[in-house]
Symmetry: C2
Subunit: 361 residues, 2 copies
């Protein structure tokens, strides 16, 4: 087992990475200070791992909440089912919520914990690659709104993140690829050596080579933890973690939640960010080609879907949380391994990127 | 104008109390650091005060959100209308929400501010006595759940509380009385001199005598501010502010939200707390009679409604946020002017109180 820490003063917490952790009763219960837990999961993960986790934490009298699976269910309405179940079971303020699942479950369970009786503790037990390397770490929680992704939520840090790498064995290939988008992101924004390592080892990851996976998850979490520790509430540098996300969220919202996976939209979004960075003279054409090649090898889309035309994408991007006083700030790349947040780019270049990086364009 | 401060370190904020403040453009805009506001109000308050507030804050490009009026609309579903309106208007993270109305509006607008894009600033501009002396101060925000009051919410402090006492001129008598329940509460829990003052001056308050009102609102806010400053997140002493609330919430939930006003239920709840305190040997029968007399003079109910029998009340009380490990903690009175939080009371005494302090019992 590897361990690292997200350093946030009194809200610091550990991240554990290893095989078989879902059966480690001592580890799982170590961070529950009080008497009761509520495990939140979904209909896909429950048959695979709920019984195991429940057994490992049985001393904590678990309530189970099983939600439908998919980004389209990441809504206020479905969130309220968590409250229904916890209130019906008379869960009090000392209850700890346990999020067992991917990014949607982690975001919703974390937000439910932030709001239940004005705030209870929670643990992240992520079971998808995307959640393990990104969404389970850093305390961003929330739900979507028909007009925009993650528009309703809270910063609420978990007490611990427990990553059982064995869960990736049951992850569909498409989901594994989606998670790879966020892994690649860390190389792009601040870790050029990791980017090169990924170019050399991507196929090992896709084949679930244990050593390669463990290395990549740990390295990703370390990158994320360092950025979040420097800027918990995204008033500055944390925004670089959103590379590709303004484009990607527009794709997800425009297609309707649940059509493209989040990681797929981010992959196409990162290509768009790279393309715009090239137009600004920062990346070379060969840098963009390197990224495009890696994304393709990860079996991820390199272009936005054909039906999302430029005006629609611009409209969708305009509600992004990084908009300030009407100016849309974007995360772009100075080079592979260095990101910047800027609203200083020609509108024409942005439009050219949107028009050219679309399927069939 | 009177001013006092709620001292919470970096989250400290001022409370302004005076006549005509809704027209004070300088004061109203002083605490909005950014470019945009969203005014949240309801269908009752909007025709009375929205135009005035909008005009005073017109430089901040207000979005207006008008919700239906009543405790029965304090739900996640109605909350989402605030998000709909703000997202449709492209409000960004720098938007300040302005809560114009009573306790329901303040709680919902504050919770919307806590969650919108993971947190924006807000101002409280309370227009009912109850909101002015209680709910607008202290940062508790949230919505109800069919199984319990205020079960979903956040601690989120406003940037300022601006109390225009002129708004009480349009307040229905029933609402004025409801607010008086919380005013009386401060005397009961920690301010015996204020309790005596209320016994001498209650009718002046009911007639909206400006000097008496200003004194009582300031004194109430000062009591609240001192308690909240000592214990922002209710890990200790803040719980005494909930005198009568565990009983009262059970009445509100049991009758269906919107039947009894919150202050009416709290009034009956305070009598029940006093009655149980008498059974424990803390209050004398004449103390209880003094309180009952004052509550009656404030035109508030002194008994729970007949249809809520003891088993049902006990069931409703069991989901209270003050339950810890299955034990229901109650705020009780050692004497008039001193409250305690305790779970150490005979169950039989609680049941005797519930049975005897009901209409027709």
């Amino acid at each position: 087992m590897k361990t690292l820490s997200l350093d946030l003063g009194v809200r610091s917490y550990p991240i554990y990475i290893g095989a078989g952790l879902l059966g480690d009763s001592t580890l799982l219960t170590r961070h529950v200070k009080e008497s009761r837990i509520a495990i939140v999961t979904n209909t896909t993960v429950a048959p695979l791992y709920l019984a195991k986790l429940h057994a490992a934490m049985a001393s904590l009298n678990p309530v189970e909440v099983i939600l439908p699976d998919g980004e389209q269910y990441k809504t206020l309405e479905v969130l309220s089912r968590i409250f229904d179940a916890m209130l019906s079971a008379h869960c009090d303020r000392r209850t700890t919520v346990v999020a067992l699942g991917g990014g949607v479950i982690g975001d919703m369970a974390g937000f439910a914990a932030a709001c239940y009786q004005r705030g209870v503790s929670y643990l992240q037990v992520p079971t998808t690659l995307l959640a393990q390397v990104d969404s389970a770490v850093g305390g961003k929680t929330g739900v979507n709104h028909p007009l925009g992704k993650n528009m309703i939520g809270a910063f609420h840090q978990p007490r611990a993140v427990i990553i059982d790498t064995d869960t990736l064995r049951t992850l569909p290939d498409r989901e594994l690829s989606a998670g790879m988008a966020e892994v690649i992101k860390y190389g792009l924004i601040r870790d050029p050596d990791f980017f090169s390592w990924l170019e050399a080892n991507l196929e090992k990851l896709l084949m679930l080579d244990p050593e390669a996976l463990s290395f990549a998850i740990h390295r990703s979490c370390r990158n994320k933890a360092e950025v979040v520790a420097a800027d918990e509430h995204e008033s500055g540098v944390r925004a670089i973690l959103n590379l590709g996300h303004t484009f990607g969220h527009a794709i997800e919202t425009g297609l309707g939640y649940g059509n493209w996976l989040h990681g797929e939209a981010i992959a196409a979004g990162m290509i768009m960010a790279a393309d715009l960075s090239r137009r600004l003279g920062w990346l070379s054409a060969s840098d963009v080609a390197r990224l495009e090649d890696l994304i393709q090898r990860a079996r991820l889309p390199v272009r936005a879907p054909a039906q999302l035309q430029t005006p629609r994408l611009l409209e969708l991007m305009s509600v992004d949380k990084k908009v300030q006083q009407g100016r849309l700030r974007l995360v772009l790349l100075k080079r592979i391994g260095e990101a910047v947040v800027t609203d200083d780019y020609p509108r024409a270049d942005l439009e050219a990127t949107l028009a050219s990086r679309r399927e069939g364009a």
